[in-house]
């Protein structure tokens, strides 16, 4: 169960993970392998959206418990990761809805500015500037970047999550990066 990998994997490996999800319906130990593979990407993705580590942990717990409980409903029509991240996004939206009456929207939006990761890289002006530019993007654009570079998902997986075509996702992201690059120059 140890040795969690967060490296991007070839699509073939990810397809095998989807097959593993079907196996996990009857064999819970197979779910442990899925958990090991995805817990960190899911956590990082959720962490990038919320204020605190505790919120990210709560949402990660909710995501995996819901995935486990709803595994009988999983059908291997696409990537397991897309299914899992849709649950994560659903939990995130539930979290926002529950928080909306108690938490200002601005506070949610501005969360990234206080992230400890920024402190770690504060000496590097280039990265700092880029971080600031990313924070100015709209939510859809920021989310696209998070799915790709925080959750380490492939374009196919992101396309499944967003319900868009793979080439459209790739074009959108590359255009976005081109804009960011031009703004840095």
């Amino acid at each position: 169960m140890e040795g969690i990998t967060t490296q991007m994997q070839p699509n073939a490996v990810r397809r095998n993970l989807s097959a593993l999800a079907n196996e996990a319906k009857a064999n819970p130990s197979a779910f442990a392998e899925l958990y090991n593979y995805y817990v960190q990407p899911v956590y990082r993705y959720l962490r990038s959206h919320v204020h605190t580590i505790h919120e990210a942990e709560d949402l990660t717990s909710q995501t995996f418990i819901a995935a486990y409980e709803n595994l009988p409903r999983y059908r291997e029509r696409g990537h397991f990761s897309a299914w899992l991240f849709r649950i994560a996004r659903s939990k995130l939206m539930d979290h926002y809805r529950k928080s909306v009456s108690d938490t200002s929207l601005d506070a949610v939006e501005n969360r990234a500015g206080s992230d400890d990761a920024l402190d770690l890289i504060s000496q590097r002006d280039e990265i700092k500037n880029l971080t600031a530019l990313v924070q100015r993007l709209d939510d859809h654009e920021q989310d696209l970047i998070r799915l790709r570079y925080v959750a380490d998902l492939s374009f196919v997986e992101i396309a499944e999550i967003l319900g868009k075509r793979e080439d459209a996702v790739k074009k959108s992201l590359y255009r976005l990066l081109a804009v960011l690059r031009s703004q840095m120059e």
């Binding site: 969690i4 319906k25 819970p28 442990a32 817990v39 960190q40 956590y43 990082r44 993705y45 962490r47 990038s48 605190t52 580590i53 505790h54 919120e55 990210a56 942990e57 709560d58 990660t60 717990s61 418990i65 819901a66 409980e69 709803n70 595994l71 009988p72 409903r73 849709r86 996004r89 659903s90 995130l92 539930d94 926002y96 809805r97 928080s99 009456s101 108690d102 938490t103 929207l105 506070a107 400890d116 890289i121 280039e126 990265i127 880029l130 971080t131 990313v134 939510d139 859809h140 989310d143 998070r146 570079y149 967003l162 319900g163 590359y174 255009r175 990066l177 081109a178 960011l180 690059r181």
Partner: protein, 467 residues
């Protein structure tokens, strides 16, 4: 044509700019442990756990899902502990010697019960004397989420005599708010040596209380003792015995009580609602108005003990009577059932076009079917709610006899909130969502959940066993 493909160096720069640290190893291990202890699906028929733990990972002292022969030995094995649920009696069971309270600034915390098994600890505590003005401020009052006690900070830890600190499992067992405080149950996946009899309950802060507004860093020593042979921790559970329990069937919906637990706040009733359909097609079946007729003929409402959202799968419900019924048999009834479906495969898109006006309506006329029930999304209307633009959809059941509710989302947007025009099931409903700011060019609408109401009355009777 411009080549927009980024260089590897720039992608690496972006990766660093949005970097997030990995989860703490102890959290990852905790959650893995929780998941590994969850019941294997499909659950056996005799799964029995407190309803408030359904849908969360219950650290099982007990629970019994796959315990062979549990039915025959049920009364001997299980008791009900308020704040914890059902517990199993074993030879190794240790319990709290006596409840212990500490009061500071008028606020009291009482360690109500602790149950220690070979490899688990379950603990219930209560908080009283909590004035409402200490709780989280609303956003209008300038409330900020970081200024409120939440997350792991509001979960207790246990300090052992040898200095070891047990951190509570990430998911609480449950709890509820009281008029001036709350009760909460937590589990600890840890074994405590028999030599450890003196533990200390530690709590950093009180749930939902503004940081600094009430005493923090609570520390309450307590003593564990071995439960005497045959010692009853709580009220015995009255087993659902088919000789005294009947099962009610109407319109393909089955209703069966599986346990009855008399408590000070009412009689807790554990029950299932099922259909003959494949259970993987729906999330849960919930009762409508539920009540009991007690031995004196008084109608008593039954209240859901568990906070529940339609996204959650529920196998067993826990309701309690609003008041204590008269001693003797009861008839337990509910009117109308709702079958809740996760419907995220039902998606449609429409394009409002430029210059859309508030109140403008678009004809959609898209047909969908879920589990044999047909429905039509008839139209969309541009609305504004508290300054946020969005859409209200009119959805109709294809059969006049079938009533429905639905929650819609645009899952491509994070800053979107579902709005429900008429939360009560109806043949034709309005429901939708709003965005924080501008509406997208193309609206991609996903059904998050759909509930179908089945009309009818179901009843079953229960009688306490002879003394």
């Amino acid at each position: 044509m411009m080549n927009t493909q980024p260089t590897d160096e720039f992608e690496e720069l972006i990766r660093k700019a949005v970097h997030e640290s990995d989860a703490r190893p102890e959290f990852v291990n905790h959650l893995r442990s929780e998941l590994s202890r969850m019941p294997v699906r499909p659950k056996p028929r005799l799964v029995f756990k407190p309803a408030w733990a359904v849908g969360i990972a219950l650290a099982v002292l007990v629970i019994t899902a796959s315990l062979p022969g549990v039915a025959s030995a049920f009364k001997q094995l299980l008791s009900f502990i308020p704040g914890i649920g059902l517990v199993e009696h074993t030879d190794q069971l240790r319990i709290l010697q006596t409840p212990v309270s500490v009061t500071r600034d008028g606020i009291s915390i009482t360690v109500e019960q602790v149950v220690v098994d070979g490899d688990n600890v379950e603990l219930a505590y209560s908080v009283s004397g909590l004035a409402s003005n200490l709780l989280q401020l609303s956003s209008k009052q300038g409330g900020q989420i970081n200024s409120v006690c939440s997350g792991q900070d509001m979960y207790p830890n246990l300090l052992l005599q040898d200095g070891a600190l047990l951190v509570s499992d990430p998911m609480p067992l449950g709890g509820k708010w009281l008029s001036d405080g709350y009760i909460a149950g937590h589990s600890f996946a840890a074994s405590i040596p028999n030599s450890e009899t003196r533990l200390t309950f530690q709590l950093e802060c009180l749930q939902d209380v503004r940081r600094g507004a009430a005493p923090e860093d609570w520390s309450i020593p307590f003593t564990l003792v071995t439960a005497p042979q045959g010692y009853v921790v709580g009220e015995f559970v009255y087993e659902a015995d088919q000789e005294i329990m009947s099962q009610s069937t109407e319109s393909g919906i089955n209703f069966a009580i599986e346990g009855v637990v008399p408590q000070e706040d009412g009689v807790h009733v554990f029950f299932r609602i099922m259909t003959d359909a494949d259970p993987s097609t729906y999330l849960a079946i919930s009762p409508g108005a539920m009540y009991a007729i007690d031995a004196e003929g008084t109608r008593i409402d039954l209240i859901n003990v568990l906070p529940w959202s339609p996204f959650d799968t529920v196998d067993i419900w826990e309701y309690r009577t609003a008041i204590l019924p008269a001693d003797g048999p009861m008839t337990i009834m509910f009117e109308d059932a709702q079958i809740h479906y996760l419907a995220q495969s039902l998606v449609f898109e429409f394009t409002p076009g430029a210059g859309a006006q508030l109140g403008q309506t678009w004809q959609i006329n898209k047909q969908f079917e879920i589990d044999g029930y047909g429905l039509t999304v008839e139209s969309a209307r541009l609305i504004e709610l508290d300054g946020h633009p969005g859409f209200e959809f009119t959805i109709a059941s294809n059969s006049p006899d079938i009533l429905l509710t639905a929650e819609l989302m645009d899952m491509t947007s994070f800053e979107m909130w579902s709005t429900t025009g008429n939360p009560q099931p109806a043949q034709s409903i309005t429901t939708g969502f709003v965005y924080k700011s501008d509406i997208p060019e193309t609206i991609r609408v996903t059904f998050n959940t759909i509930a179908i109401q089945i009309e009818g009355t179901w009843q079953t009777s229960w009688a306490p066993p002879a003394p």
